[in-house]
Symmetry: C2
Subunit: 398 residues, 2 copies
Amino acid sequence: MTPSKVYYFDNNATTRVAPEVLQAMLPFFTEQWGNPSSAYSFGSGIAQYVAYARRKLAALINADPREVIFTSCGTESDNAAIYSALQTQPGKRHVLTTTVEHSAILNYCRSLEKQGVETTYLPVDAQGLLDLEQLERAIRPDTAVVSIMFANNETGVIFPIAEMGAICRKHGVLFHTDAVQAAGKVPLDVRALGVNFLSLSAHKLNAPKGIGILFIDKQTKFQPFVVGGHQERNRRGGTENVPYVVGFGRAAELAMSRIDEEQTHVRELRDLLETTLLQTIPDSRVNGVQSPRLPNTVSISFDFVEAEALLMLLDQVGICASTGSACTTGSLDPSHVLAAMGLTPAQARSSLRLSLSVDNTEEEVLFLAEHLRQSVQRLRSFSPLAKTTPGKVAIAAH
Amino acid sequence: MTPSKVYYFDNNATTRVAPEVLQAMLPFFTEQWGNPSSAYSFGSGIAQYVAYARRKLAALINADPREVIFTSCGTESDNAAIYSALQTQPGKRHVLTTTVEHSAILNYCRSLEKQGVETTYLPVDAQGLLDLEQLERAIRPDTAVVSIMFANNETGVIFPIAEMGAICRKHGVLFHTDAVQAAGKVPLDVRALGVNFLSLSAHKLNAPKGIGILFIDKQTKFQPFVVGGHQERNRRGGTENVPYVVGFGRAAELAMSRIDEEQTHVRELRDLLETTLLQTIPDSRVNGVQSPRLPNTVSISFDFVEAEALLMLLDQVGICASTGSACTTGSLDPSHVLAAMGLTPAQARSSLRLSLSVDNTEEEVLFLAEHLRQSVQRLRSFSPLAKTTPGKVAIAAH
């Protein structure tokens, strides 16, 4: 049973559709529901709304609207970028990525390995960062694409994508970034980043689940992944999802208007949460704390506690949080991201991801912090491993 | 400018979202918007609605719910079936299909040819039908999959899928049918059809654009096409599009409840339309008239008339119709389907597709027929080719 009030601290998993976004979408279900590819005005007249939304998405990432195609989700965008890089360069059969990517990259790469594609997964250090010299050395003459996420979905750690882009350009290698978790939280500029491909997903941005975009640099050859009709200038088949396209466009406008709030209000709340947890819960550690991070994300470990048990206690009072990516829920393996950062399986299993939004309040943050303190204390009281004396408070890395 | 009243005769292009479908979806945008993969009840509680919708879709085609995965559209479903058949049978590199498929099959096959996949496109006769013996002879030891549509989107001609399924089974070849245009118009039973894969799209069924399903027979191996998280039992990555899944489920219920109406009311209207047009417009011919056809579709040719010009005249009074698939609008080539049936380019360019729904009325049909009669007469009066004497009325094939 869900308590009536929901304290939502899992905005990296998904976000609420904004009322403005829903309002923008509504006419396109039962009133203006024609097929934008149709010749008559009831259909073709709808194409202008698709074009408007495309301009708003392009503006969000400083792209030309013609460089933006709508896809069905971030996962499809990620798959499509890698697929196209391989297809347009038939002699190149190597993909270079990292150990901490989303499953949309990692599992796709594994499926490509079965088809003879070679892959390299770059490791990260204890702070979740990559060694740029190691990246450069790993680029091979047959590397078709380098794919590195903008910000980690579990820890919020931000990679220096512009510097990585420069390295890729220097070696003439295509570069893709999965910016799904970054969009709306930090400014994105495809020109400054120097990327060939960039993926976004609407449902991290207060628009619905089931639509994404792929930015394709206008100089970059593209081979479609979903192949059918002439939609999206022959780059993505399938009748346009007009309501979601319109909603995503509206969400892009909202995201641009509140990017400062993410950097101030959300960051302040996140810092308050982190400080309070570290001060009140002994043997707690923030993962990736020394790295540049998204303003809304906390990954925190509580020694001697099973985070799954913690989630259940939090759920009882209506608090939504997670142990990592929702896309890997149900897996018995501890987080691959935290493992890559050197956490032991026990440490990884004691870790919680808390991700905030502009809708969170200070009151909610303090409610969460207090319930976490009580819940950790309660679970530790059952644990034979937990020290009976309070341990030291640490914000250092593992 | 669109006239206030829309006479919609293009239901094979897309359909209006039913008010019941919109109502079913609404709570999942701004109220129950959690991620169904999340551990807490606000998220995981939503999985039951996804499961309910999956059962309704399964019931529509007499499948087990575990045999149904949600995709982003019919095009993705079509691509995924072919892709999986090739991936799970690495030694088999031949795809057998027809010349009259939707671009989701034809253009995907063409993209596979660049990767070394061999393809055979079976021809159709003047009535749009395939020679079953020719189909059987075209199956090769290295045929990975046979993909044949259930009903043609332009002419409504229905293929004998169950007989074709028996041929494929006899030869141990996987069989896929694109049933996007058939769903809701004629009963579908995957067991009786003997198919391994079947594609459906929601937006032909009064649900939104941007969601489809792929039926995957439980005995059939499957390799995912969109690869990411564990969603859809590891068969389709990407966060579930919960509102559209729920809406599609509701649309499946509606479709089942009115399938008889398609066979009576819609068929009667279609027959009324066809008879009226043939009786009042000389030199007109219904394409595929001798074949089994969907109850809602008319493909009709008016000699000496450019159908594109006809569409513009119809649009002026609010009538929506098309020259063929919306997915090929903008192409300068005449319909590949009508060309495959032996129509000359001029005949193909004189052809209109009219596709009805349960929402159409007799009054609308007579309005359409009368405006078509006037418009054809008007256009012919400008044509040097048109005979000044009325020609014979023909319902026979070309």
